[in-house]
Structures are given as C-alpha cells and as structure tokens.
Amino acid sequence: MTTPAIETIASTPAIETIGRRKPKIPYVLVVPAVLVIVLGAGYPLVWQIVTSFQEYGLSQQFGQAAPFVGLANYIELATNPELWAVVARSLAFCIITAFLTVGIGILLALLMANVGRVVRLILQVGLLLAWAMPVVAAMTVWIWLFDRRRGAINYMLDMIPGVDMNRFDWLATPWTFFLVAGIIVIWGAVPFVALSVYAALLQVSEEVMEAAQLDGANGWQRFWGIIGPMIQPVIAIVLLLNLIWDLRVFTQITLLKDAGSKSGDFDLLGTYIYKLGTSAQDFGMASAVSILVLGITVALSWFYVRRLLKDER
C-alpha cells in the first residue's frame, strides 16, 4: 500500500491568489460539514451542559419544566461515594490498560524490528486480524473463551498441574471481571500501537545506528540514547489516544455485564451514565457525569491536537 503524503501538512502552498479574490469559496465548502457537526454533536453538547445545571428527572420526562438548580447536580455527585468509586475505577482501569497497551505495543514493535521478514509478516497479519475484529463480535468470542463451564481458557488453565480452574467464574467478582475486560481491551488496542511504533522505528536511520555501534554503544544504550528519543513523539500520541479510548469502554463493559453480574460494582463511567439515564431517568445527573467524562476527554485531547498541529500555521 502506498503511503500518501499525509505528513506534508504545511508544505503544500495554498492557492492564495484565488483565496484572496473569492474569499467566500472556502466558507461555502465547509458549510455542510459544519451544519451536520453542529446538529449531531454541537447541539447535544450544549443541551448536555445546560441540563447538567437543571433538575431533569422523571416528571420532566413527562413535560414539566426543568428548573435550574445551579450546581446542585454537581454537588450531589461530589458528595456521592458511589460516583467516586465509579470515577476511581474508571480512571484506574483507563490508566492501567493504556500504559500496559503502549508498553506491550512497544515491545512487539521492537520484536518486529528484530526478526526476519517472514516472521515479521506473520506477526503483522496476526495483529491486523485482531485489530479488525468488530468490538461486539470480539466480545462474544472472549466471553465464550472465558465461559466458566465450557470455555477454552478454563480448560487450558486447568491442564496446568496444580491449578484448579474448573468452572472458575471470571465475571463473578470485580477484580477478575476487570482483569478480563482489561485483557480484551489490551488485546484489541495493542495492534495499533505496535504497528504505529514499528512505523516510527523504520524512520530511525541505519547509519546513525551503525555509527553509534562503532562508537561502542551497546544495545541498551542505543535504545535509550537514539531510538527512544526518535520514537518518543509517536509514543506520546498513541498513549494519549489510548487513554482517551480506554475511558470509553461502554460496549465492552455492557456486554461483559450481560454475561456476568448486573451489580453496580461492575460499572465504569459509560455504563453508569447509561444507568442514570435509562433506569433512573435522571437526565440532570446523567448530564453532569457526562460533562465530567467530556472534560477529562477534552483535557487529554488538547495535548493530542497540539501534537497533530505542531507544524500547522
């Protein structure tokens, strides 16, 4: 597959003469996109912010006016230990899975760079297949693999001498539940990290490495002194993306909860908001929690956007 010159962001000169003469054209061109974004994301975003300052419960669902209650929803959230448990769990899950994903991804990228062509190709195809799996289909397979009675994982673990995993119910306690969720998320996200970091490794020039080798740098020194700094920008960006993605694991948690327990101990932010909105019908509170999620995401995304726009003028 040929790589398009996506990297040459700033270098292509715009046709400024045209731009000066007919300044309306670019605005006309962006109108459809702006309209649909405002409609599908902008309006809901504003509604969400407004509603988070309102009391919007069951009676409002049936048409009563929603009174403004200032920060009441936020204060209720801040003093609600259940929410703090969900926030702490979500952040811990997000940070641990994101760092493990990136760590494993880097290791696999280095592995790719240090094996022969054929083995590398096999590894890349394997990673691509896993990456391509639709989340819902992947979830059903993993749930089947972890099935307590007939799952392949319990069967294989049980074959190890001294390990008794027969009928072990992975989804019954929060620790093992989130371990399984973490394994699934990491499995799905590592391919992107590994392939991106590998692409960055290819940019490290052969000559520099040879020069370092001649100067007596050992493998460890070459990694920290040359490769590390050169792939650092890519690592930063994939880490940010994974932190953002691992906050939104609604699909994975929902399907795991389908197979396991419905208890609130297994909720992360996404499923918690869904529960507030659907079973409790409390849109005011649900909106306030959503704003929290959006706030975290935007804060993380800001770094990402700054990275991407580094050479944008």
Binding site: A5, I6, G40, Y43, M133, V136, V238, I273, V293
Partner: protein, 278 residues
C-alpha cells in the same frame, strides 16, 4: 556483529505472540463450524473435525439477521455517502485555501472527533426522540455523520494536500477553468483517498454499538451489533448456544475484516500523522 541465537528465540516469541493474538479470531470461526452437541461436551475442540453449517442455518433461520443486515446497510450507505461528500468539500477548503477561522475549524474537528459517545448519548437520545426520529435510519445517521465526518476531513485533507497545487495551475495555464482543472487533474488523483475515507466511515457506522443502543430501541430496527448482542441474550435465557453465537459473530465480522485490511495503512498514518514526521 549480529548474534544468531537470540534471533531464533525472538522468532519463536513472535510466533507465540501471533498465535495468542489470532486465537480469539480463530476460535470464533472454529466454533462456528462445530455442532452444538460437540461444543457442549466440555472438552474444547481445537479443530472442527466434522465441520457443519448447521450453526449458520440455525442463526439465519428466523430472518432477524437479514432485517438487521438491511438496517445496517441502509445506515452505513447513508453515512458513507454524506461523509465522503461533506468531508471532501471541507478538506478542499482547508488544504487549498487560507481563510480566517481555518485553524479554529481544524482544532474544532480534531477535538470533536475525540468526544466519546458515552458523554453525549443522553442528549442525543433526547434530541432525536423530540423530533420523533428514534428507530429511523435518518436519526442514527445524523449522529453518525457528525461523529465520523471530522476524522474523514482530517484524513482526506492529507490526500488533497499531497497533490501539488502546481498541477492544477499548469492545467489552468493550458486554458482550463479552475473547476475543470480540479475535476480533471486533482479529482482522479484523489480516488484512493476517497476510497480510504469511505471505508473508514463504513467501519465506524457498521461497528457502532453505543449510539445505536440508545437511538434504535425497537428490536425490528436494530443494526447488526445490537442484533448480535440480542442474539446472545436470547440464547442465554436457555443454555447459550455458542455454536450459533459464533456463527452469528463470524457473519458480522467477516465483511469488516476484509474492508479493514484495505484501509489499515491510511488509518494509522492519519491518526499519528503529526508525530510520524517528528
């Protein structure tokens, strides 16, 4: 200077990793071809000794797959069609023109494409319900297009920027109008970019679960991911028929895997483009 022995060990490690990563995909296809009676036998079958299609026929029997497939195709085509047009126009604007607000626009789309569905779906539900578009292709498509178009613009922008404006100018010197020059010179060169963006939009719309769960509450209007979840749930009320569930998963996954392999390279470079340059 190269040492041989570690390389063999590394190769073995690489193969083991590959097997670990492929295993769930293999297991899905494998289980889909094993008769339910055998799957129920407590000893996993690592290879379908007597492959059967009965799981597939069982899955497809009640016709709900085809109604979900129809819904998914309708939503996906709508999203792909409008995404490509809208994103193409906007990509031309931001890569061929310098205008006031351009940078703000780019920052806005990059931030918006990061917003999680989890943070917006309550409001989106409320909005779509208030205009009576729950359970419709239009309702869910509008939300999808808004979610997908930002990244498609970003992706296409790279392609447009990659085609030198000099080419168009040369054609204009030769007497073509600006519009003609664009349509005859730039547009054909953009075809791969349009395909890649289209496939990206396809994957997003086809796989989406969260928004669909909220906006398509009725069973007869479910898209494939919702159908698959419902299929597992319905099956779980009895003892789960894993053979059929895996056959259903395989049916949902295969088109995605094929299309994904087409655009994978571009997806990666779009997501990290600023960084790869270093």
């Amino acid at each position: 200077m190269k040492r041989r022995a570690p390389r063999i060990i590394l190769s073995i490690v690489a193969i083991v990793v590959t097997i670990a990563w492929i295993f769930p995909v293999y297991w899905m296809v494998n289980s889909a071809f094993i008769p339910t009676a055998v799957l129920d036998g407590f000893i996993p079958q690592f290879f379908p000794m007597n492959p059967t299609l009965s799981n597939f026929s069982g899955t497809l029997a009640d016709g709900s797959f085809f109604s979900a497939l129809g819904m998914s195709v309708a939503v996906t085509l709508t999203v792909v069609f409008f995404c490509i047009i809208f994103a193409f126009l906007a990509a031309v604007a931001i890569s061929r023109f310098r205008f006031r607000g351009r940078l703000s626009f780019i920052i806005a789309i990059l931030l918006i494409q990061m917003l999680p569905a989890e943070g917006l779906f309550i409001a989106q539900y409320k909005m779509i319900a208030s205009v009576h578009l729950l359970d419709t292709v239009i309702g869910v498509s509008v939300i999808y297009i808004a979610a997908v178009v930002p990244f498609t613009i970003w992706m296409l922008r790279g392609f447009v920027a990659g085609i030198p404006a000099d080419l168009e100018e040369a054609a204009m010197v030769d007497g073509l109008s600006r519009f003609q020059a664009f349509m005859r010179i730039t547009f054909p060169l953009l075809a791969p970019g349009l395909v890649a963006s289209g496939v990206y939009a396809f994957l997003q719309a086809w796989n989406e679960f969260t928004v669909a769960l909220v906006l398509l509450p009725s069973e007869q209007f479910q898209t494939l991911p919702l159908w698959l979840r419902g299929f597992v749930q319905a099956s779980a009320t009895r003892a789960t028929d894993w053979g059929q569930v895996m056959a259903a998963s395989t049916l949902v996954a295969i088109p995605v895997i094929v299309f994904f392999l087409i655009v994978q390279g571009r997806l990666t470079s779009g997501l990290v483009s600023g960084a790869v340059k270093g």
